[in-house]
């Protein structure tokens, strides 16, 4: 209900002179100033409540719902989604810590519209969480922080900043702890802001930094245990990395809107541009990329409820693959738009370059594609087929991926740093068998190819000799193949779980599934010759009446949540 209402509201705000008016947001971007009016209406509508778990009084009961809201915001403007959604990232460590007192207190602030920043990165330390030099030392009544976090989204605007600090001078896996700092409560002059950085994309966002100069914080600023920081951050990242996928999906939605419009109105050599088979094929690929990204994100969001023990792997796959899929989709749409994708002042299309610029950051922050892929690579030996069954069998995938399924409430205490299984991927056999029993449009042939390819990936994993130190290139490529297999398995599981949809538009003749599987097989280096026509079909779909909202489960406003 609220979701449909939100979609209508955002559409209304996007009209001329509304806070989401594209012209206005472009002007903010040009001026590198913060899109404050757009964030303010989101606050008034109550979006921050969706960043707060229901058990602490918020409305976050289902990740798929929260992601859908964030996706909608991003589909209008990625900068606004990054600037506003960041509070979920900043607060996640507190939710995951299981510290009810701290969580209840922060919940009140978040719902009152206070922004929370997340400070992991430090100048010149890159992605290495254990390289941080910001230290926290005990003082008479709490802790004393000194050091810098930079670059950090909302570091200046956010009243709160959640930081990973070194609590053991020797560092190491037990040498760091998490602190939630209320900058307003700090003694004056002890917190200094580092200036906003000019950026290639999300130009209006507050990408700045914060410096603590012997800043005193009370004892209860410590979140979790002393030395528990790395573990806590690794768990919180599992939730935030999946939220990042929503930003990508929104950018992909926006790009498809432009592609559809261009295909329908552009004429070339006296004929509609869309008569060009190549143009339709490219558009169809862009559609398939978005739908595959959606399938992965959808399965991942639900996995957070049902198999949180596996989220270290599921979230790494999602964060590595989804932004990459969308980056590729944007490139395709850019090619399609030609000059209009490049000229920034063209009515209706001027925004494309901004989407592309804004989206680039998604595959950089919160762990880059490579950082996530290498984390997955380190876990591959554990995921080898035939390793003893990991966890007790829970609900079957085909049950919890059903669109109208009730989900198990999220339990952060079930998160871990080592996934012992991959329920979604392991459902591949079963999904393929289901499809074979009721084949549509030839999707079953593609599914069989995927099963073969996964067999090879499994064989390569079984032969993998884990080594200490940096991940070898061949293992990174193996991890990437594993990601593609996961994506294919997610798509097939969604298909098998939702027979009620099989006769609805993009599901007819298994159209979306065939497009997704064709992409997956290409990604695995085993393209299916029989699938070449599917992108043309998807391109036609984009041009049809059903192309206004390309999504697996219909337009968000149709969904009665």
């Amino acid at each position: 209900m609220r979701r449909a209402e939100f979609v209508r509201e955002v559409d209304r705000w996007s009209k001329p002179d509304g806070p989401f008016d594209a012209a206005l947001l472009t002007a903010y971007d040009d001026a590198e100033s913060f899109p404050g009016a757009a964030c303010a209406v989101l606050d008034r509508w109550g979006l921050p409540a969706y960043y707060v778990p229901a058990q602490y009084g918020g409305r976050l009961a289902r990740f798929d719902e929260m992601h859908a809201l964030l996706r909608k915001v991003a589909s209008e403007d990625v900068t606004v989604a990054v600037a506003h959604g960041k509070t979920f990232l900043g607060a996640a460590s507190v939710w995951v810590s299981g510290d009810d007192g701290a969580a209840a207190q922060l919940a009140r602030h978040v719902m009152a519209g206070e922004a929370v920043a997340w400070g992991l990165t430090e100048p010149d330390r890159g992605s290495d969480l254990l390289a941080g030099e910001l230290t926290a030392t005990r003082d008479a009544s709490g802790w004393c922080l000194s050091g810098r976090k930079w670059p950090v989204n909302n570091a200046t605007r956010g009243r709160f900043v959640c930081v990973l600090a070194r609590t053991d001078p020797g560092g190491g896996a037990r040498g760091f702890s998490v602190f939630l700092v209320d900058k307003q409560a700090a003694s004056s002059g002890s917190v200094r802001h580092l200036p906003k950085m000019p950026t290639h994309g999300i130009r209006g966002a507050d990408i700045s930094g914060v410096e603590f100069r012997d800043t005193h914080v009370p004892a209860d600023a410590l979140i979790g245990t002393v030395g528990g920081g790395l573990e806590l951050v690794l768990k919180a990242l599992q939730l935030t990395r999946m939220a990042c996928a929503a930003l990508s999906l929104g950018a992909g939605d926006h790009a498809l809107r432009l592609a559809r419009r261009f295909l329908s109105e552009r004429r070339l050599h006296g004929r509609p541009f869309s008569d060009l088979p190549h143009a339709r094929g490219v558009a169809g690929r862009a559609v398939a990329r978005l739908l595959l990204a959606e399938a992965v994100s959808y399965a991942a969001a639900r996995a957070a409820h049902e198999v949180p023990e596996e989220l270290s792997v599921v979230s790494a796959i999602t964060k590595a693959l989804v932004p990459t899929l969308i980056q590729g989709q944007l490139r395709l749409v850019g090619e399609l738009l030609g000059a209009r994708g490049f000229l920034t002042g063209v009515e209706g299309y001027g925004g494309f370059a901004k989407i592309e610029r804004d989206h680039q950051v998604v595959s950089i922050f919160d762990g880059s594609t490579w950082v996530n892929r290498s984390a997955l690579a380190s876990s591959l030996p554990i995921l080898r087929p035939g390793r003893r069954p990991a966890t007790a069998a829970g609900r079957p995938v085909h049950e919890w991926l059903r669109q109208d399924a009730d989900l198990t409430p999220v339990d952060p205490l079930r998160l871990g740093v080592m996934a012992r299984g991959n329920t979604v991927l392991n459902s591949l056999d079963d999904s393929v068998a289901r499809l074979a029993a009721d084949p549509r449009g030839g999707a079953d042939h593609l599914a069989t190819r995927l099963l073969d390819a996964f067999g090879e990936v499994g064989g390569d994993i079984a032969r993998l000799r884990p080594v200490a130190g940096p991940v070898p290139t061949a293992t990174m490529r193996l991890a990437e193949r594993y990601e593609w297999c996961f994506a294919g398995a997610a798509a097939l599981a969604l298909w098998g779980a939702n027979p009620k949809h099989h006769d609805r538009h993009v599901w007819r003749e298994a159209l979306w599934l065939r497009g997704c599987l064709a992409l997956v097989l290409e990604g695995l280096g085993a393209p299916a010759p029989e699938a070449t026509g599917v992108f043309d079909e998807l391109g036609r779909l984009l041009l049809s009446d059903e192309g206004t909202h390309v999504s697996l489960f219909g337009t968000s406003s149709e969904v009665s949540a």
Partner: protein
Amino acid sequence: MTQPVSGPITLDELQSWLVERVGEYVPDLDEKVDPNQELGEYGLDSVAVVAFAADVEDWLGIRVEPSAVWDHPTVTQLAKFLLTEREQQAA
């Protein structure tokens, strides 16, 4: 892959198995693995350690979190911890 052990195991056996495993993870190492050296110094740091923890799981037939290696960062410390853990998880 590693065959799981059944039945009792001594601290010494456990320790030499761990030393051997660490050696396999660091094929380029010239000297013998020092049981009192932190595993992180052999490159078995926070992330790389997950596969190692899984190996230990497979061999001992008990659940071992990677954080066990963080908390008991040398072979000597880890062996002691695992021995107690195995007795407790078997009980």
